[in-house]
């Protein structure tokens, strides 16, 4: 975990104090709503369907146990006892009173958290790999670079009023757990043949009404130039982004309009002309940030745990949990445990007091001893959190939808719950295998439906909730955008339609193919026939 220093702390404490004054002036009438709205949005406070919603930044999805407890306290004291983890690894509280919002910001600051830049046309929280620092796949710890980006972009005077919001993802593994290709900038850390670390820089990815996958504009950016190169990209965007039209203001539209080559040329020109030294992170500062992550005191353990192996043989539920939710760790004798939140409950304390939030709306305990796995599983079971369904059909991404969101066309969470119930039987879900279902309540695509193996988009059809299905999307390293299946289906037809799609897949599947692989091989036709058979 990155540990705040005195400067980090004073920034968020000052900001909370400033907001307290702004709220007081709004309540007294000294500020009008028009004057106040941009100020509250800069602190992540939205007015939604039922009340104020506060979006709290979880820096690159990484939380200490103490911070998680701090969030839980806020949920209990200022909300109705729950929050929503978002597809950007943040958390949202849905019932915050404006009059109490300054107290909530103070409570966040106490545990080194804040809501700065969780809204508005600025650089938002950086997405990263929830397995960072734990997976053997990575070439470096991406959190170090995310933290450098966080410090550089927080309250950055030049990039506080961009044409639109701006999202960056950093991953350092071959397996992409960040959806990097659908971010404004996706950074993939790799070593070149000479062994030097560099970033593949992809720009112009995004979802919403005009989805694009990012295009690579630089194959290997030397890591020490990260901040100057990001500045160059943002300057080109800041200069040419379409401020005149909110639907065309994201960088993806600019990159598509200019063409990636021309865009890259302009970035290079800007970068060459820039005083890079003034922007790039000095080695000493990078070393300070790296050092501030501290050291996880891993024990010297054998790679196989006799305790765990015996427990796994004796307990089929634990065996299933290990199959689906437990991943390999870089250190012998440890494991990465995925905690599915697609079941209610609380998180117990294991894993070196660290918890990660995934963009798939689950949690990760990054460093659990194999010897402790059975106890962790028992604790999760007691808390109702042991669902062994990671990446299976019941592990669904859903945005808040019309149950909370002021922009929604339709609900999303109850649709996800209905589908999850259909595939609740663990043997059924496992026999289907990896199936990523993603649901958005409107075209803003917060539920990442464009990159779902099955994507579900809520639309309004003559005043009724309808849902458009897309197939074949992926937000992983094999990223693709889904294809529309056919006419939208009614609310109560979504689960039967997904069921029919799964049936079609099981008929067509060859060998160990995932749903996505089968779809890519056979195309839309058999799936279309399965869902619309009755209509034709």
């Amino acid at each position: 975990m990155y540990r705040y220093d005195a400067i980090d702390k004073s920034v968020i404490e000052d900001r909370a104090a400033e907001f307290r004054d702004q709220v007081a002036r709004r309540l007294s009438g000294a500020l009008t709503e028009d004057q106040f709205k941009p100020l509250r949005l800069m602190n992540g406070l939205y007015l939604q369907l039922h009340g104020y919603m506060l979006r709290v930044a979880i820096p690159y999805g990484s939380l200490s146990a103490n911070q998680l407890r701090g969030l839980a306290r806020i949920g209990r004291t200022h909300d109705k006892g729950y929050g929503h983890f978002t597809t950007r690894q943040n958390v949202q509280f849905n019932w915050i009173k404006l009059s109490e919002a300054p107290d909530v910001l103070d409570a966040l600051a106490e545990v080194d958290l804040h809501a700065i830049q969780t809204s508005g046309n600025c650089i938002r929280n950086t997405t990263s790999d929830p397995c960072a620092g734990a997976t053997a796949e990575e070439v470096d710890d991406p959190r170090v670079w995310c933290e450098a980006i966080r410090q550089w972009s927080t309250l950055h005077p030049e990039f506080g009023y961009l044409p639109r919001k701006f999202k960056i993802a950093v991953t350092a593994s071959a397996q992409d757990r960040t959806a990097a290709k659908v971010h404004d900038i996706g950074l993939v850390l790799r070593r070149n043949r000479e062994g030097q670390l560099g970033f593949e820089v992809m720009v112009g990815g995004g979802m919403g009404r005009t989805p694009y996958l990012g295009t690579t504009i630089r194959q290997h950016l030397p890591v020490n130039h990260l901040l100057s190169y990001l500045s160059a990209v943002l300057r080109v965007y800041n200069r040419h982004g379409r401020r005149d039209n909110i639907y065309k203001a994201r960088i993806k539209i600019l990159v598509a309009a200019l063409g990636a080559e021309d865009f890259a040329r302009q970035v290079d020109a800007e970068w060459t002309a820039m005083d890079r030294q003034a922007v790039d992170l000095p080695d000493i500062e990078l070393a300070r940030i790296r050092g501030a992550f501290g050291y996880v005191p891993f024990a010297d353990l054998p790679p196989v745990s006799g305790v765990f192996e015996a427990a796994r043989k004796a307990d089929p539920a634990l065996a299933r949990f290990a199959r689906n939710n437990v991943k390999a760790h870089k250190v012998a004798g440890y494991a990465i445990v995925n905690v599915s939140l697609k079941a209610p409950g609380e998180v117990p304390g294991y894993g070196h007091s660290e918890v990660r939030v995934t963009h798939e709306q689950n949690l990760v305990l990054p460093h659990v001893k194999l010897d402790d796995l059975a106890a962790v599983h028992a604790g999760l079971t007691a808390a109702g959190l042991a669902a062994s369904n990671i990446n299976l059909a019941s592990d669904i991404i859903a945005c808040p939808g019309l149950d909370y969101c002021a922009l929604a066309n339709t609900r999303a969470i109850p649709v996800a719950q209905s589908i999850a119930r259909r595939f609740a039987e663990p043997d059924v879900a496992e026999s289907i295998g990896e199936l990523k279902i993603k649901i958005s309540g409107c075209i803003n695509a917060c539920g990442h439906h464009h990159v779902g193996h099955i994507g579900i988009l809520g639309v309004d059809k003559k005043g009724e909730e309808f849902f458009q299905l897309t197939l074949g999307g992926s937000g992983a390293e094999d990223a693709s955008l889904g294809d529309v299946l056919g006419p939208a289906v009614a609310y109560d037809q979504v689960t039967p339609a997904v069921d029919a799609l799964v049936e079609a897949y099981l008929r067509e599947r060859r060998g160990a193919e995932r749903f996505l692989d089968t779809y890519r091989r056979v195309g839309l036709a058999p799936f279309k026939a399965a869902v619309y058979a009755d209509a034709h």
Binding site: S28, G29, L47, I413, K462, G463
Partner: protein, 122 residues
């Protein structure tokens, strides 16, 4: 005959409120019903002047469900009830005939139930 009500969000706590004869009520069941558009507009003008009490007041269309007035728009019914995934939360928790009418009424899923802004796709 058109039927409308006036709604807003309470400034201090964000709660959904309804205009009820010059004050703001949290329950849709207590909302004043306007069958005369001019009366609705007059109330809206008064509401807009209360900027330290409410945020963003607007009129919503209503229609009848078994003789009980309910918002035409599904979005507005969700606002008047609370999240459908948490029936124990929000205004719906206390139940009653109006809550029941809001629940059973169908149609109108559009994101805006604002009077004069609803454009049903043909």
């Amino acid at each position: 005959m058109s039927l409308a009500a006036l709604t807003a969000s309470n400034l201090r706590d964000g709660e959904v409120v309804f205009w009820a004869l010059g004050r703001w009520a949290p329950r849709f069941a207590d909302a004043e019903l306007f069958d005369d558009p001019e009366l609705g507009q007059a109330a809206l003008i008064l509401a807009k002047a209360q900027s330290t009490v409410v945020v963003d007041p607007y009129l919503i269309d209503l229609e009848l469900e078994d003789g009980i007035a309910v918002p035409t728009s599904y979005r507005e019914r969700v606002r008047a009830l609370g999240p459908t995934i948490h029936p124990e939360m929000g205004k719906q928790a206390e139940g009653g005939v109006v809550i029941q009418a809001l629940r059973v009424h169908s149609g109108g899923a559009r994101s805006s139930g604002r009077l004069g802004l609803i454009r049903l796709k043909k």
